[in-house]
Amino acid sequence: MSIKRRTFLKTGLSAMAYFSAAATTPNWIIRSAQALQSTCMDDGRIFIIVQQAGGNDGLNTVIPRTDPIYYAPTTRPKIGIPQGAEINLDGLNGLHPKLVQLADWYQRGNLAVVHNVGYLNPNLSHFTATDYYEFGYVPGQLAPLQGWAARFYDNACLGHGDPQALFMAATGKSSIPNTFFVPTNYTPPAINSPSEYVFAASNDSALRLQAIHDLNSSGTVLPEIDFLQRSANVAEASVADIAVAAATPLLVSSGSYPTGSLGSGLQLASQIIRAGFKTRLFYVSQGGYDTHANQAAQADPINGGDHATLLDTFDKAIGAFLTEMDLSGNLGRVVLMTFSEFGRRVNENGSLGTDHGAANCLFVAGGGVAGGVYGGQPDLVNQIRGNLAYKVDFRSVYSRVIESWFGQQASPVFGSDIYSQIIAPDLPKIPFIRGNVGANGWTLQ
């Protein structure tokens, strides 16, 4: 069953300091005090999660350009990327022709492809599969109550002081993603539109806003009320910062970030970083990848159809973000990872599209990334019901970031048995984080 209706971590409630209670209000709610700031993950490293919702077609994103099965007439006769049109990476793999900026970042050594990411007994439901990726578990396991990044945060940061309100941020989104739901002592903000992220009061403004603050500052034992108050608290504590961030000038030309949630989310993430706020985890999302039909146009599989449009947006948004990180000297501080709930069927269907699949490729990009192709080539010979088999568990990808980028422990996040049996054997296959970053200065690009 999908954990579509998420609940609170009951075990934490009794021990939890209700920070909506005045006595335990964190210092960032009391605006004047900045004493006990978090020292957790304080060396400036940043991680950006990019969701491609709907199931991205990995085989048309990173094309196995020497695989005869990809080009066989029964595989993708109408929607396949014509041989030679792909952008060659390493001889074996080529990017979709729309991914021109990502190709440049590959050439600079700042982009990694990880092939064959998935898990055992994949589920082809969007929602079940997305839950696996967001909560960080697999079929047969009990669903965790917290998203994987919320558990990672708890494990790394509980007891290290109060985080800034923007420690984690979902940008370009009108909800907190399950991946971020929800740390024990901290509620991440979601900022969809900075211009609407302002408390309005047409009259008696100061008086009303003070009252709103007070209405959300009482102690409570009701989890629903507590969550509401925390959300209001983090809104109050972040509106001024978001206004500062949103006023940070672009370093790329106007229009470089495409319209839509991904472009606006990455633009705001860049502004938050460049404005100097200590956000460590970002989450942005792009929807529309469920390309059962009109994935490609028959007459023009390179430029026509929905997938070309989606990847064009994807490329421009990530390209603009990485460019701004580079121009502002922040590239060495960032690692960006993409994920999608599943790949798509190897063979096309009759609607110029592809149906739900299984294992997939993803990208990792940024100054902290050791560019290259990891995880082996997709195996089009040994398909499972028409889908790709996985070779790298997705939790191993997360663990590589947790351990090699943040220097934290992954085992408590996913469980020691899972770690020893699944993750540890995978990690040597995916050394996509540079080994020697982390010193102050962030000169590595």
Binding site: R6, T187, A211, Q229, S231, N349, G350, L352, R385
Partner: protein, 522 residues
Amino acid sequence: MAYIEPYTGAWSTDEAAHLGRRAAFGFRPDEQASRAAIGLSDSVDALVDYPAQDAALDAAIQSLPTTADNDLIRNPTGKRSLQGWWVFRMVYGNQPLQEQLTLFLHDTLVSEWAKVASGVSTNVNNGNDGSITGQTCTTGTLAPDSSRRGQIILRLMRDQNELLRQEGSGAYEELLRLVTRDPAMLIYLDNRLNIKGKAQENYAREIMELFSMGVGNYTEQDVQEIARAFTGETINTSCAADFPYNYLYNAAQHDTNSKTVFADTFNFAGAGQDTDHVISLIVNRISGASVSPAHSTLPATAVYMAWKLITWFVNEAIPIDHPAVPEFADYFYNNQPNGYRYDVREFLRALLKSQLFWDPAYRHTMYKSPADFLAMSLRMLEVRETSFSSQVGSYLNGMGMDLLEPPNVGGWLHGTPWINSGSIIRRYNYGNRLSGTSIATDAYCDAFTTNAIVSGTTDHAGLVEFFRARLIQTDLRPSDQSVLMNFLQVIESGSGSATSKFRRKVRGLIHLVMATPQYQLK
């Protein structure tokens, strides 16, 4: 059978208010008083027994005075105004349960405006509609007409919404057949493109996973077989027929090989018969021992849909393996007072009268959806929103619920996902909007004293009590009571005429009460 048994406990204004918050969009004070007077059973029946059309509302909309906003409610022209048209029905309709059910069905049998729009050809032109004589449909003869295209998109989404509204309370099995052939759905889940020889699985999967049985009750083989059975169910988009975008069964694209679904092998010759048979198989499919929760006698659709309805009306966090679910699933499937299974109207009647629904532990525990929050505020405050045609949809979008544009085929996530820093700011700001002088007008504020709702301009406790009863409908927390009283006292102590200070108090209270944590719950 403890959960579905009729509730026989207390009945008072509080109970009537609970029924209003869950089964309507809140009751106006006059409705609440009349429900409280007639008792539980009659109150539920009055909500449940509605006709397909709300004729009084339709007439009222037609007779609205001519303004730009009213004209768009009468004749919506696009997504924002159709959103406003729908919210107007939620607020001013006489059949609020019908609108709650329509919202539930829109959130279950999902179509997204943007995807449907992308399925209407940009080459739509004036075709053969008679407005231009002597023209043909030959490509290039007529220039594309984007206005006409927009009208088709609007009609597709509005027709689907009306289908859910008018047929939603009947047999769910029949609704599934109607939705399967709804043109917007045929575009949204791509079945219009599902052709023999190279079937595609989008609708076959989602009808089982999201519209009926839930994930886990079918195999990937079933998905592929059902996809073949659905081939040829499409729409007519031809220029020669003047772009009707209506349902069409295309026998030439229907797969005539035999199909095997749930070990049942079939191959019917008649138009749409394979599809109808599949839907029968789905809704009668017993939830197997291998799935969770396993029920040896109950169909998976009865379990899943009963659970979805329970989560909509009782509490979003009730799990599917809660012991109440099989009681209601059994009723949904086996009780046939009108001669058919899956009787939605009778299900709702039983649910709204049940001990489960009236369990005090569930009161004031559900997070209002943005539509709940917005429509309830307008209905319970009896203020007149001045921009249904644009601001309502825009605010709903900011709160995370872009009506007619659900985030994906699974619909919106309910409960905690409604609440975050950005959405809560938009909720508070909508309270500020309602408190503005153009909505909470001087006359609205002054009525409190002229109608003796409060005993005078300094009756602060009376004012707070008025908004508590109207909006919060349960005890205010003492701390919140203090905050509100203090707010009023500060204004009272300041400068200004008594009249102006009183208006500021009323407007401030609207804004502030709508910003209390309790008001986000229902």
